[in-house]
């Protein structure tokens, strides 16, 4: 199952208002639980499953599952999410061994570089589109990320 199929599945579940779903197919296992106020959770396992999906397991209160790839504001908690514009590999620093661009707790300004996402030797410097404090980094250095995947949560000031 790829990211697109997973997204379609989630959309289908929302459309049909199905709150719990479990699927086992070969070595892939998917369990989705949605609804409020219970935090939605997607648990996926399997050797070939894109690790990129793990972000969705970050509990986001009162937000429907599909918001993981749509909304910019994270509902009630008021955090701003910075997302990846491309599929690629996430780098927290400009070169291996260099200090990271930012870390949790840092104050960032509008346009400040937060990280690099690389695909096909194309380096995409991701800039902050708000000024504020880095509250959360969703992705680890060297990890693959999907299009639209949240990278940072920022408390705008």
């Amino acid at each position: 199952m790829n990211q697109k199929e997973l997204k379609e599945l989630v959309e289908f579940l929302i459309e049909k208002d199905i709150t719990e779903f479990e699927l086992e197919r070969g070595d892939v296992k998917v369990r989705i639980k949605r609804g409020t106020p219970v935090a939605p959770a997607i648990v996926a396992s399997g050797p070939h499953f894109p690790p990129a999906v793990s972000y969705a397991s970050q509990p986001v209160a009162h937000a429907p599952v599909a918001s993981a790839s749509a909304a910019v504001e994270d509902g009630d908690n008021g955090l701003h999410t910075v997302k990846s514009p491309i599929v690629g590999t996430f780098y927290e620093s400009p070169s291996p061994g260099a200090p990271p661009f930012v870390k949790a707790g840092d104050q960032v300004t509008l346009g400040q570089v937060l990280c690099i996402v690389e695909a096909m030797k194309l380096m995409n410097e991701i800039e902050s589109d708000v000024a504020g404090e880095i509250v959360k980094m969703y992705v680890k250095n060297g990890q693959p990320v999907e299009y639209g995947q949240p990278l940072f949560a920022i408390r705008a000031r």
Partner: protein, 353 residues
């Protein structure tokens, strides 16, 4: 010839001159230098008087004298002197806009060619200029880079006037996913230009290293500034080893140049012109019809690359793994079959073990 040493050929009685012929790093090349060459090359058979050149440039005779001396220090062969006039012995292989511009007219790259004798990195300069609104098609060329950039913090050895160090600004109205095609297309453009000029048929190592045998002579590093749905600008940086006659020990097994492969020097001007024309073609195709261009890029990449199918490779990313390549997926990523199933290479760093 060592263009770095400050003037050692100061003739007695000549006006005072300070410092090196080479401007400080990052300082754009004085456009008058190229214009002197342009005027001289338009009159190849006669000694052209300093007064005549000064008129053409709208400057003074002493300024012309200073410019000629500076050009000589940079290795340009100019015969004559102030009293009898000047004549160009041969058109220099410098990537000056006045020389390169006419060769790429009609492409998107013919308007804003920025030349530097020495710069930290053409990509850094182009990205900074793009952030300040520099238009699409602007090209940054340097005779020498003091900190040329490669992938993942690697340096790109950039000796003076031996290679081509070129960065172009693009502002494509494309989704970020389609912009990835530029990365593959840039390698194809280099490959086509080199074949056209030298007759060599380079190999392509996904995504865009260009090789002769198993040694690399060209690398591409693209930098992107994008929002989730929109690309603000991209800078395609291309480094080509042209006339290097040797490499340091640590690079000898990995790197080569066109000179080393063929035993003769090549015109960087001609190669750069062929490259920019080729890149112009690829880019126009991509922004005109992204999906048709994508198919064309995939097809040509498969034809030209020994890495894309059936090659045993080591992949550096994602913890590192080995496998056998199985073509490109619909986005252009390299598929590699491993002992534990199919994997997709996202960033680069593929090599034959």
């Amino acid at each position: 010839m060592t263009p770095h040493t400050p003037s050692s050929r100061n003739t007695p009685g000549s006006p005072e001159r300070s410092g090196s012929a080479i401007p400080a790093p990052g300082e754009p090349t004085d456009g008058k230098l190229g214009r002197v060459i342009r005027v001289l090359s338009a009159n190849p058979l006669v000694e052209l008087s300093g007064t005549k050149i000064a008129e053409e440039l709208g400057t003074s005779r002493s300024e012309v004298w200073r410019l000629v001396e500076q050009l000589r220090e940079l290795g340009v062969e100019i015969a004559g002197h102030q009293s009898i006039g000047y004549r160009l012995e041969s058109v220099p292989d410098l990537l000056l806009p006045e020389i390169l511009g006419p060769l790429v007219s009609g492409t998107i790259f013919d308007r804003n060619i920025h030349h530097f004798f020495r710069i930290s990195s053409t990509n850094v300069a182009a990205m900074a200029a793009a952030a300040q609104g520099e238009p699409e098609g602007s090209v940054f060329l340097a005779e020498e880079q003091t900190s040329g950039k490669g992938r993942g913090g690697h340096a790109w050895a950039s000796d003076a006037s031996a290679g081509i160090y070129c960065s172009a600004i693009l502002r494509p109205a494309l989704a970020p996913a389609d912009v990835l095609m530029i990365s593959l297309a840039a390698g194809l453009a280099v490959s086509a230009a080199v074949e056209q000029v030298t007759g060599l048929q380079p190999d392509l190592r996904w995504p865009n290293d260009v090789l002769l045998g198993d040694r690399k002579f060209c690398g591409v590093l693209t930098e992107l500034n994008a929002e989730v749905t929109r690309v603000r600008y991209a800078v395609v940086g291309i480094g080509i080893n042209v006339n290097q006659s040797r490499f340091p020990d640590e690079l000898r097994e990995l790197a080569t140049s066109l000179h080393l492969e063929t035993g003769r020097p090549w015109s960087r001007v001609e190669l750069t012109a062929a490259l920019l024309k080729s890149l112009d073609c690829e880019y126009r195709a991509l922004v005109t019809d992204a999906s048709a261009a994508r198919q064309s890029v995939f097809r040509r990449f498969e034809q030209r690359s020994s890495f894309v199918r059936g090659a045993r490779v080591h992949v550096e990313e994602d913890g590192g793994y080995d496998g056998v390549t199985e073509g490109l997926d619909e986005r252009g990523f390299l598929r590699v079959r491993t002992g534990s199933g199919m994997r997709t290479v996202l960033s680069g760093g593929v090599r034959k073990p």
